[in-house]
Symmetry: C2
């Protein structure tokens, strides 16, 4: 049955008479091949990498998957005591950067810390309401977590505290389980339980170096989700904003104030020197409006106010966490979701600023820091804290140097809790609503959405899916849509990889996609297909059928124009980084199908892993070792003389 055509094809084909070869080529490639006699004396064979021991191979894979950033590298060749010091420094980066801390840095950090504190106090009170918690819990969460983070975190610019989206998410998820109006205590306890497990989730992901899991939420989906959450929050707050309606005279002040710091916000964006204008505007408007309400007693005329806010720092909440009962599982589930979202936000912020200031950020270490801070937070009456977009940006613009700005902020919050909280009693809810609206509108990133539309339509669908999911349904649905679309994209990528027909660029020995380079010419009697992906079970069958379909299309065309038929099918395998058993099966089936059509299968440039597996499976012997070439050009020049004698 087998014709063993292979034997008729000399393995020393490279030295065949060049005249034969050139007959097949058009004038330009003829001249080029005459000018480049290097086609003849090739000495390179496809390299087979030295066989690796199984354990080594496995170790390398695990290392590249989980320890891609090589965290233990500086520990190499160090004495024991030094290793301990370095270990402590790894866990508490403050020990490292603290040694080079100086007055100049302190000045920057104090200014930045004061600025973000003035921004965070009104935001915290508002965000606590989004999470259906009493206002002081927002302030608590801006006291303990930033302190912990300052010692353990490695980002220099992130500002830690409660954030709008996580507060909203937590509020929605918790409310599904317990009604905060009916049983405020159970609700609060569940909130601490969720916070505890959010922290555990974050620290665990970091400790087991599974931080890459958050990469599965695509940038586009996050943009859509954040935008949707921002709109939802803003619409919710409009209610609070119009809670002032009876108090007609004051409406103008609010709208004026709002437009003032709306404009200032933009001003600050444009001119770095005025960063403090949008940053302190909220606090100033809170102080002014609170004072105004206090002296006019507007609350008696229908203006809704904060009414009550507990004085004093965080009480312990260790005993409030549910470590048993039905709420344990519910808290766990909510905590995992909220923890992941909080992580996504913090890591995105951390990475952005790290790349702006060009320092390295260890994602996994960050997660351990964020997780620890939330676990400690859950025991000190805090709810989930993370990096805030708006405050981190202000922190950066205010010239923060290190995480000390978080300590400064934390200290200010401490003073606030200790001494001035009761004064917030008269703060009108409307002003808090305005502050929240102003903060969350910054999360709507039109420019990013437009860029996504321009670059990748599929990403845009993910973005819009998440956006409309949040706006028209709920945060969970929006999140689910975002994750699903992200996964669908990954699955599409692995099931339907691209393939391309290659042609020769005139005057070179370079073969390129003929769709991209319309000048590239096909070689007569040879079809060159490039497969642009690892060949795995998820796509092996598709790739096989796609290649056969390319061949049939080509043959149909050739038939209609009475040209000689295809005799060689060259598969360019440069992009094929790996192949599994299903892939080998597919190649075997392809080889059989081609054989029945009298077409020879030739492989060009398989990578180290692939060539190894081609040998392990004996497929290399099945098609013949001499059918595997270093480059497409080599493969073509090996086919060409054969073509001449056969046609």
């Amino acid at each position: 049955m087998w014709r063993y055509i292979q034997q008729t094809m000399s393995s020393t084909i490279h030295s065949t008479d060049e005249e034969h070869q050139t007959k097949e080529m058009d004038i330009r490639s003829l001249s080029s091949s005459r000018r480049h006699p290097q086609n003849a004396p090739h000495i390179h064979k496809v390299g087979v990498p030295p066989k690796q021991n199984l354990f080594k191979e496995f170790k390398a894979t695990v290392k590249e998957t989980l320890f891609a950033d090589d965290p233990l590298r500086p520990f190499k060749d160090q004495p024991g005591s030094k290793k301990f010091v370095m270990g402590m420094q790894t866990l508490f980066p403050i020990l490292e950067w603290g040694r080079s801390y100086n007055f100049t840095k302190l000045r920057g950090d104090i200014i930045a810390g004061l600025t973000i504190a003035s921004l965070c106090i009104p935001q915290d009170i508002g965000y606590a309401k989004l999470a259906n918690l009493d206002p002081q819990y927002g302030l608590y969460s801006s006291f303990v977590p930033p302190l912990i983070y300052a010692f353990m975190g490695s980002s220099r610019d992130i500002a830690i505290g409660p954030v709008a989206v996580v507060s909203l998410l937590l509020g929605t998820l918790l409310q599904n389980e317990v009604d905060y109006k009916a049983d405020a205590e159970a609700y609060r306890r569940l909130a601490f339980t969720a916070t505890f497990f959010a922290g555990i989730t974050q620290a665990t992901l970091g400790f087991f170096r599974l931080g890459f899991l958050i990469d599965f939420l695509s940038h586009a989906a996050v943009v859509g989700f954040m935008g949707g959450a921002a709109i939802t929050i803003a619409l919710q707050q409009l209610k609070g904003l119009f809670g002032i309606q009876n108090f007609t005279k004051k409406t103008d002040i609010v709208s004026v104030l709002h437009s003032v710091f709306g404009a200032a916000h933009h001003g600050g964006k444009k001119n770095k020197k005025f960063f403090w204008v949008p940053a302190i505007a909220p606090l100033i408007s809170v102080v002014l409006s609170t004072f105004f309400v206090f002296i006019t007693r507007a609350d008696k005329h229908g203006v809704q106010i904060v009414r009550h806010i507990e004085k004093g720092i965080n009480p312990s909440s260790v005993k409030e966490i549910y470590f048993s009962g039905q709420f344990l599982l519910k808290g766990f589930r909510i905590g995992v979701v909220a923890g992941m979202i909080a992580l996504t936000e913090a890591v995105a912020i951390g990475r952005t600023f790290a790349s702006m200031k060009d320092y390295q950020l260890d994602g996994n270490k960050e997660m351990v820091a964020l997780g620890t801070m939330n676990v400690v937070g859950s025991m000190t009456s805090c709810y989930v804290a993370t990096g805030s977009f708006s405050r981190s940006a202000v922190n950066y613009m205010a010239g923060c140097q290190t995480a000390v700005s978080n300590i400064v902020m934390s200290f200010i919050v401490f003073l606030t809790l200790q001494f001035i909280t009761p004064l917030f009693k008269y703060t009108p809810n409307a002003i808090l609503a305005a502050i929240i609206i102003s903060a969350v509108l910054g999360l709507i990133d039109f420019e990013a959405a437009i860029l996504i539309w321009k670059i990748d339509k599929f990403d845009f669908i993910a973005c819009m899916g998440a956006f409309f999911g949040v706006v028209f349904s709920s945060v969970e649905i929006g999140l689910l849509i975002a994750v699903s679309i992200s996964f669908a994209k990954i699955l599409l990528q692995v099931t339907r990889p691209r393939t391309a027909i290659l042609g020769k660029l005139p005057g070179t020995t370079v073969y390129r996609n003929i769709q991209q380079y319309p000048g590239a010419t096909k070689v007569q009697g040879v079809l060159i297909v490039r497969v642009d992906s690892a060949i795995y079970f998820s796509n092996s069958n598709y790739i096989k059928e796609r290649i056969l379909r390319w061949l049939m299309d080509e043959e149909e065309q050739l038939k209609s124009s009475f040209q000689p038929k295809i005799q060689f099918l060259i598969v360019e395998m440069s992009p094929v980084t790996d192949i599994d058993t299903s892939g080998i099966h597919a190649l075997e089936e392809l080889h059989k199908s081609l054989h029945k059509r009298d077409v020879q299968l030739i492989l060009a440039n398989p990578g180290p892993v692939v060539i190894d597996k081609l040998h392990a499976s004996h497929f290399a012997t099945t098609i013949g070792e001499d059918k595997i070439f270093l480059t497409v050009a080599d493969a073509v020049s090996a086919c060409s003389p054969k073509l001449v004698t056969e046609v």
Copy 2:
């Protein structure tokens, strides 16, 4: 802040003095570059494909995802009546191949049909017991479904009927919901409901051309799952086999018979002429043992027999399907799982034989056929039928020509049901157990497992995971493990793509992975990295950091050997088939980081989609259009003169 180094680099760099360039190269490459003056007169730029209209692009993606096999192709340019005929032929392929049917084919089909009928009758009775159903339901399922399939299916070799693994799976899943001993009627009704939804699932997947979803169960996982299921079934049946223990005299006969057809099975595998020996051995042993039990009345001495088997063909079961109530959802869930597994088996068989006989098989059309046959089956007292490994192999070896062999088999089963079923009353359960064991042992594919071990260790883990999951836990757990590991592999593939450092093969202008080709030499002052995957959100951050890590490793090495530092980083993008917004972000961040280190980013050979997006995002302008080259060789020769003047 920006130094605009780009401007110092001429865009007409290709024509720079070659002497500069050669100074940088070692002797061999020097001579080679002298011999190949083609380095100089390059005229090719990186091609930007013509801008496609959005709708067209979207259409192309959908087509390639769902209609990869171009099913409507033959319909093009045909008149209306012809289109109708072709449509009917597409739905019922028998209309097409039936026209060229002849006596020679019929002879082959009759022989094959009789052979598989003799194999299927005892198997069906045994498999029905695996599904906890009365024996006649096995026979029913070998009567109606094969008939439907013969009209609608496009595989010529598959033999349709109940199969061991699906029977076991169905038995386990149904038993979890209803105890068949306590409420046989509810159990049976749930079985029909599950069968109905299995059919609906299959037909729906096929109709919406989502057949590729079953590709997510990897070959390795299927091998492990099948092996595990076979062991489980065999162990279960050993109980039935030893149910004969009181009847000591007969034990020998059974073991003799068993070893006979065990040996014959192997004989048949080795010599195609004796295919019928293993095929009819089961029926003969059933007939002999039944006769033996009947005349000795061994059932009165402790030999367990079938006892009762209904006479007559399939009664209607339309009214037995649960279309409402709590069982509807349960039946649906079980049906989806059983339907998917049945599909995997049938499609794998169909593809194997199609590739052996080299005919095309439309997976989606097959699914519609299998689905329809199960929906009709569920209404005629059948449970889930699919392609059987053992019978399809026998069918093939017996020389079947078309699906007519299924019609022949169906007819024999009809005669059996109508006339001889009562005779099976005395068939000893032990012989059925032996037949099942013999059939399922063929599902354990040691060779495949060994090959998987050799080729891909990760696949082997998936294989063993599924195997041990089924053996030590349950079919569901095994299946879950198989699917999870398959997915984990896909996710690993997309989060941790490979990258490689390239070097120049001496005497050529070819750049290859220096790990695979130890002879390849690095170019001084230039680091060439190849990224082996599309750059998506799932890996963009990893790729960026990996490239920076390559650079740092390299710089460390160079520093310790006092060599000049890296000035150019060339990213070879040939394998990068696509990039999304996250990928563009990562490139931008890479560019910034490199800029801070005084290293220039250069791209080589971006594909059509990538170059398009580089332009859409203006990243091409950011790094400078003249930093994008057709080949690595071009990029290197553009860097080299620059290096000389700077060092």
